[in-house]
Amino acid sequence: MDLRSRPVGALAGVVPALLLAAMAAGPAAAQDTIRIISHRQPALEYYTGKMAAALPEGRVTVELMPIDRELELASITMSSQSDAIDVLYLNDASFQRFAANGWLEPLDDLWEKYREEYDLDDFPQSVIDAVSYDGKIYAMPIQTNTELFFYRTDLLEEAGIEPPTTMEEYAAAAAQLHSARTAGTIMSLKPVDAALNEAHWYMNAIGDGWFDDAWKPIFNNAAGVEAITKLKEMTQYAPRGFTAHANDESTINLQQGLAAMGLQWFTRAAAMDNPEQSRVVGEMGWVAPPGGGARIANDGFAISRFSSNDRDEMFRMMAEAASKESMREGAQFAMPPRLSVLEDPALAEQFRWYTAAREAVESGQAFPAMPDFLDVGEIVTRHILRAVTGEAEVQAALDQAAAETESLLASRGYYN
C-alpha cells in the first residue's frame, strides 16, 4: 500500500487498539466489591446503609435508583448471566419473576446455618412464604409494606363523619368532603404501577379478585365490572390530574391539604408529620383501608445467582441489616417483618400509624403469587384506564384484558 493510505489506516486501527487497551485495563476493581442495587426510598436508604456498615469500609458499594430503572438494569444484567450485580432489592411481584427465572441464589442452607445466630425464626411464616418460591427461600425479608387509608381528622370531624370502614362509606365521605379546592380523595392512576395498586384494592374489596384457582382471569365477571365501575365513579372526587398521579403526586396532594383522604403506602405516613414537608402535621389519621383487600407487600434483598462474591459473607451482611436492633431502628421508615419488633407496644406509641398498619396487614391482600403478575398488570391496567377515561365500556375493556391475559399466560405455560 502506498503512502496516501497510511494515516487513514492508522486511524482505522484506533478502534481495535482502544478496545484492547480497555480490555487490558479492565474493570478488575469491580470484582472484589459487593455491588448492591436498590430502589431509593428512606427505608431502603437506611437498610442499604446498614448492609454497607456490616462489612469493612469499601467492601460494599450501594447504588440507589428508582425501581423501574433498577429492574431494567437487573433484568438486562441477569438475563445475560453477568456478575455485575451481587445483591438487589426486590419487591414481592418482581421477586417472583426473578426467582422463577432462576436468577436468584437459593438461601436455604445459609438460612439453616444462621437460624440461631440471627434469630431467623422471628420472621412469621407468612413473611417467609412471601420470600420463597417453589419451596425455596430466595430473599432476606426487609420490610412489610402495606397500603393504609389516610384521612384528615380535622376535616372528617368538622363534617361529622367517622373514618369509613366500607367502600360505600368511603364513597359517601368522598362525595361530602369534595370541594373545588380540596378533593374528596386522592387516586393514583398513573400507568402502570400506581394504577395497578389502586385497582388491586377495588378488585379485592368489591370484586372477587384477579384469578380463580386455575389462573383463569375472573376480574371481568359481574363483581369485577362493579369494582371498576365504582373506581370510575370515584374519580369524580379525585384531584385534577389524577391520571398522571403516582405515589409522589398523591403524597404531595395530601401534604399540601389538597385532598381529604385516600389510599397510600405506609412508608408515606411519616412524611405527613414532617414539618419540613407537610402542611397537615398532626392532622392526618390512619385506618385499615375500607373494605379490605388493599395491597400488602413483603420486600427483601436477594443475592444474584451469577454473583462471584462469597455468598456466606453476603448472607451475613443481609442478616445484619435485618437484625432485631437494626429493624427496631428502621421501624420509623417501614414496617419491620420481625414479630418481636412489630409486637413491641412501644412502637405504636411512638408512631401513630402502627395500629392501623397492623390491622391493614390482616385485612390486606398481596398480589397473586405468580411470576407473571407484573406483566398481567401491564395489560390489565391499560384496559382499566381506558375504561376509566371513557375510551371503552367497562365490560368490554375488562373482557379484552381477560382475553389478552389468558393468551399471555397460555404462552407462559400456565394451562398445560
Binding site: S5, V8, A12, P239, T243, E378, L385
Partner: protein, 291 residues
C-alpha cells in the same frame, strides 16, 4: 475519476467500520430476534418466522399508538418550526442584542432530557405545578394539562417543543446570517412589503436549512420517550401512548424481546417510508423554489 480520488474509500473505513461493529451488529441481532418468540425471563427462544409481525400488525393497539405517535410527532415539529422560525427572524432583525437572546433561548436545549422532563412536570402538574398554582391563586381553573386526553397531547407537544425549538431557531438564525443582505436591501428599496420579502427572498434562500431542521427533527421525534414516560406514562388511558412507549413496555417491562424487536423493525420501516416521502415532497418544493 481523477487519480487522487482512488484512495477515497479509505476515508470511509474508520467511521463505517465502527458503525458496522458497534451499531449494525446489534441492529442485525435485533432483526434476527424479531423472528423468535423470545421471553428474556426464561431465556428460551423458539423460531416463529413472521409470527411476531403478524400478531403485531393485526393489533388495534399498534395502529392506535402509531397514530398517536404521528399526531404528536407532526404537532411537535410544526410548532417547533413555526416558533423557531419566528424567533430566528426576530433575532435577525434585532441584530445588536440578538446575542444575549440567542444564548438565553438556547438554554432549554442544553438541559439533560431526563432532567427537563422533571422541570416540565413541576410546571404542568395539576394543582401544585407552577402553572396551576399561579392560575388557581387568581381563581382561574385551568384545564387538566396532563389528565385530559386532548390537553395531555398538547402538553406533551409543548414539552417537546420547549426542548427542541431552540435547535431549529439556532440553525435558521445561522442560515439567516449567511444570507446575502444586499438582496433584502434591494427588495426594500423596491418598496416590497415585509411579507413579500419573507416569501420571495428569505424563505427560498433558507430552503436547505429548513429541510435540514425538519428532517432531523422528524427523525428524532419518533423516538420521543423520556418526556412522555415522566409526564403522563402514556395516559390518561392511552391518549399519549406512542409507539416507543409500547416498545418499552414489551421489551423492558414484559421482557418479550422478540416481539419488541419486531415492533422496532416495523416502526423503522414505517417511519423511513414516511420520511422518504416527506423528503421527496420538500425536495420538489426546493427545486420549485429555486427557479
Amino acid at each position: 475519476m481523477v487519480s487522487w480520488q482512488r484512495g477515497l474509500w479509505l476515508f470511509f473505513v474508520p467511521s463505517f467500520g465502527l458503525l458496522a461493529v458497534v451499531l449494525l451488529w446489534p441492529l442485525g441481532y435485533a432483526i434476527y430476534l424479531s423472528f423468535f418468540d423470545y421471553f428474556l425471563g426464561t431465556g428460551t427462544r423458539t423460531f416463529i418466522g413472521l409470527g411476531n409481525y403478524i400478531e403485531l400488525l393485526s393489533e388495534a393497539r399498534l395502529w392506535r399508538s402509531m397514530w398517536t405517535t404521528i399526531i404528536i410527532a407532526f404537532g411537535s415539529v410544526a410548532l417547533e418550526f413555526a416558533v423557531g422560525f419566528a424567533l430566528a427572524l426576530a433575532l435577525y432583525r434585532l441584530n445588536s442584542s440578538a446575542k444575549v437572546f440567542s444564548v438565553l433561548l438556547f438554554l432549554p436545549h442544553i438541559v439533560t432530557p431526563v432532567v427537563a422532563a422533571l422541570f416540565l412536570k413541576w410546571m404542568l402538574a395539576a394543582n401544585w405545578g407552577l402553572v396551576d398554582a399561579t392560575l388557581l391563586t387568581f381563581d382561574i381553573t385551568p384545564p387538566d394539562w396532563l389528565g385530559d386526553p386532548l390537553w395531555a397531547k398538547v402538553s406533551v407537544i409543548l414539552a417537546d417543543a420547549w426542548i427542541f425549538t431552540p435547535l431549529i431557531m439556532m440553525v435558521l438564525y445561522a442560515a439567516l446570517q449567511g444570507l446575502d443582505a444586499s438582496l433584502i436591501e434591494a427588495a426594500q428599496i423596491d418598496g416590497a412589503s415585509n411579507w413579500r420579502i419573507l416569501r420571495h427572498v428569505i424563505i427560498p434562500a433558507l430552503i436547505p436549512a429548513i429541510i435540514f431542521t425538519i428532517s432531523v427533527r422528524l427523525m428524532d421525534v419518533f423516538r420521543f420517550f423520556d418526556l412522555i414516560y415522566v409526564l403522563t406514562g402514556g395516559g390518561p388511558g392511552t391518549a399519549t401512548e406512542t409507539i416507543t412507549m409500547y416498545t418499552y413496555q414489551l421489551g423492558f417491562r414484559m421482557l418479550e424481546v422478540g416481539k419488541a424487536s419486531a415492533l422496532g423493525v416495523i416502526t423503522l420501516v414505517i417511519v423511513a417510508a414516511l420520511l422518504l416521502s416527506i423528503n421527496r415532497a420538500l425536495n420538489s418544493i426546493y427545486r420549485g423554489g429555486d427557479r
